[in-house]
Amino acid sequence: MNKLLAVSPSPHVHSGESVNKLMFNVVLALLPALAVSIYYFGLGAFVVTAIAVVSCLAFEFLIQKYLLKVTPSISDGSALVTGLLLAFNLPSNLPWWIIVIGALVAIGIGKMSFGGLGNNPFNPALVGRVFLLISFPVQMTSWPLPIESRAHYMDALTGATPLALVKEGLKGGQTMSAISEHIPNNMQLLMGSMGGSLGEIAAIALLIGFAWLLFKKVITWHIPVSIFVTIFAFTGILWLIDPAHNADPFFHLLTGGVMLGAIFMATDYVTSPMNPKGMWIFGIGIGALTVIIRVWGAYPEGVSFAILIMNAFVPLINTLVKPKRFGEEVKKNG
């Protein structure tokens, strides 16, 4: 045998896991929610998603090729996921040019300005979303209502989200029992029959996605569960103290961006802590900030802000919170 043998350090085998496979599984996990969205919002949901995905891929490609002059890596699927998540955070009747601006901010500023995949401190899709929310507050909060307008993209009937209705109602001095006549019940909320961003409405579809991500070991349960537990406990306490002026904890879990944010945005690898202890701190922070913004803040919804604020703490959490080291707790008697 005269052939040359390959020589490399151990290990000599690999799990076969790849970034592409992980991203592909995230895309699969998002599909049920996209299907529900198209069912309720019709063509608009599809158009907005398509525009967001195509522009994110295009911006990533163009920036890598012509600005950074590196080999474009859009095939790794990360820009696809950013595009989907950005779309999921937008109303389904948003004008196309606003979506394109959102994609440019998400990819260009949120991701590429920090050095691309793996280096961005903030979730790119949320950077894009919050930029749009602050820059185009009217368009970003004109939510199409479900079912009414399946065949239209721009001319849908719009209304407020349940969270906004509750916030306005409470501000106007109404009690929860009076407000609850105008908002969907918890079962409708679970199934997604409400106004809102196109991907956030169907809790049940997002939970199916969660199950898929756990089954495929793409993410661990720590971040979503810690967020759910915190929001449930925090709003539960408020509700028990004063049920007339606080929505019940199930309402808080099922409305707005809690499901989408906790399962898909807060678990973004790049911008979340590296070990379970850190993940709990991160999740509790997001849950607490969300409730604080919702109950006492100016905006009816606070998930996006809460995640971005906690993103900023991730490097600190990673430095201060270390995994349980082997031999740390020495047990003398087993």
Partner: protein
């Protein structure tokens, strides 16, 4: 629930292709090259010269210090040379090359296959015999066994742990030894217990070897103080610290040896070698080697004389397959890739694996996406992604602070990394640098 260790771990495809192949005695080679450095510690001193006639089992290199090991001839014949040859590490190091003539064994060796149960030696005498026989850890670590049996002053051994885990994929040599040498293993364990003055021995075997578990459980009933434990299949359970955690739920502290928690760990192959050395006066000059690979004609387990060229061992299993791209000495997770198959089998050669060309090369590394999988699989609770980066930036003091010296180099991080990053490569480099710094500080 089966026992296992608690932090991290991975489950690579097992690929125990050769598990059903009985141990076959490999025919004698024409020539052997026996390296004088094939254990951890100081190389042995050659005590023969060119032209000397040697017998099987004759001492040819003397242990050189407390952590070192005797080396015996594995064949009878004439010493042809004492020159550097390339060994399995890829370096040229001194080896005693012997031309084989016949198969004449040293007269003191009991060549009968009768079991000899009775052992009337004292602990000190047993340890001395183990040292004389040149026994080293047969799992692949090759640490001189008599050193592990000599419990330091002020410490007390409470339990003997026998490692039959064989958590590395592909390897089956320990599995076959447990199936075919069960009685010898048990007597070897009793001798080790006596040397350590302990009453209990626990054998840990992963649950993918049910035949070995049931066989040894049955054999163990004839001996006192030996328990067989089935363990959940999880790599790297064969690591000393992981096995101790799995079996007696004690964690060896950072930087300490197992004796700190009252445990001493020996491999099943080592226990059988101890039986042969103490009861049969047979030094360590042959071992069981798994020869395997997905495309190999007849994956096998051979009893091989130390010093046999690896090429001959592979030839006996059908020869190197056409599309072979890499040959690994040891397991796929921790073994070393061979640059040449002319190097000899040593005391630590537990297996030889031929990987096809498509599995031989690593995939291109991508950017770290900070998924944290390396952190979740690290059995020592370290952060490989961070150590990798610190090593590249040469921040060695920070690496020490992040416990890099606890790394057991099991490779779980590199195995799991979805971005194909060579995490362990950089961690190893950094760990070596940190080791130098720590030693310089102590000096």
């Amino acid at each position: 629930m089966l026992k296992t260790f608690s932090i991290g771990g991975v489950h690579p495809p097992e690929n125990k292709i050769s598990a059903g192949s009985q141990i076959v005695v490999l025919p004698l080679p024409k020539q052997v090259s026996i390296p004088i450095a094939q254990h951890i510690g100081a190389p042995a001193n050659a005590v023969v010269t060119k032209g000397d006639k040697v017998k099987v089992g004759q001492l040819i290199a003397q242990s050189n210090g407390f952590v070192s090991a005797n080396i015996h001839s594995s064949v009878s014949g004439t010493v042809a040379s004492i020159d550097p040859v390339m060994d399995s590490t890829g370096y040229k190091r001194p080896a005693i090359t012997i031309t084989v003539e016949g198969d004449e064994w040293d007269e003191t060796i009991d060549r009968s296959t009768d079991l000899k149960e009775e052992c009337n030696l004292t602990a000190e005498e047993i340890i001395a015999k183990v040292g004389q026989a040149g026994i080293v850890g047969m799992g692949g670590a090759t640490f001189p066994s008599q050193v592990k049996l000599s419990v330091p002053k002020g410490k007390k051994a409470e339990v003997l742990i026998i490692n039959g885990v064989e958590c590395e994929p592909y390897l089956t040599s320990d599995h076959r030894v447990m199936l075919e040498k069960g009685h010898e293993l048990m007597i070897g364990i009793q001798i080790l217990k006596k040397a350590l003055r302990v009453d209990t021995a626990l054998i840990g075997i992963e649950n993918n070897k049910p035949d070995a578990i049931s066989h040894l459980s049955q054999v163990a009933t004839k001996y006192s103080g030996i328990e067989v434990h089935a363990l959940k299949v999880q790599y790297p359970q064969g690591g000393e610290k992981q096995l101790i955690k799995a079996l007696i739920n004690r964690e060896v502290p950072s930087g300490a040896l197992p004796i700190e928690v009252g445990a001493v760990v020996h491999n099943v192959g080592t226990a059988v070698a101890v039986y042969e050395a103490v009861q049969k006066s047979k030094p360590l000059f042959e071992r069981v080697v798994t020869v395997t690979g997905k495309h190999l004609a007849t994956p096998s387990n051979f009893l091989v004389r130390i010093g046999t060229p690896i090429s001959e061992v592979i030839a006996a299993a059908g020869g190197v397959p056409e599309n072979t791209g890499k040959i690994v000495n040891g397991g796929p997770m921790m073994g070393k890739a061979l640059s040449s198959i002319d190097s000899p089998v040593t005391k630590g050669t537990s297996g030889l694996i031929a990987f096809p060309a498509e599995e031989a090369k690593r995939k291109v590394a991508q950017a770290c996406v900070r998924c944290g999988k390396c952190v979740s699989v690290c059995p020592m609770g370290l952060e490989p992604y961070l150590l990798n980066r610190l090593s590249q930036k040469k921040m060695f003091e920070r690496m020490e602070h992040e416990h890099v010296l606890d790394c057991i180099e099991c490779g779980s991080c590199s195995f799991e990394c979805p971005a194909n990053l060579p995490l362990l490569d950089y961690i190893r480099l950094g760990k070596a640098e940190v080791g130098k710094i720590v030693r310089a500080r102590k000096a």
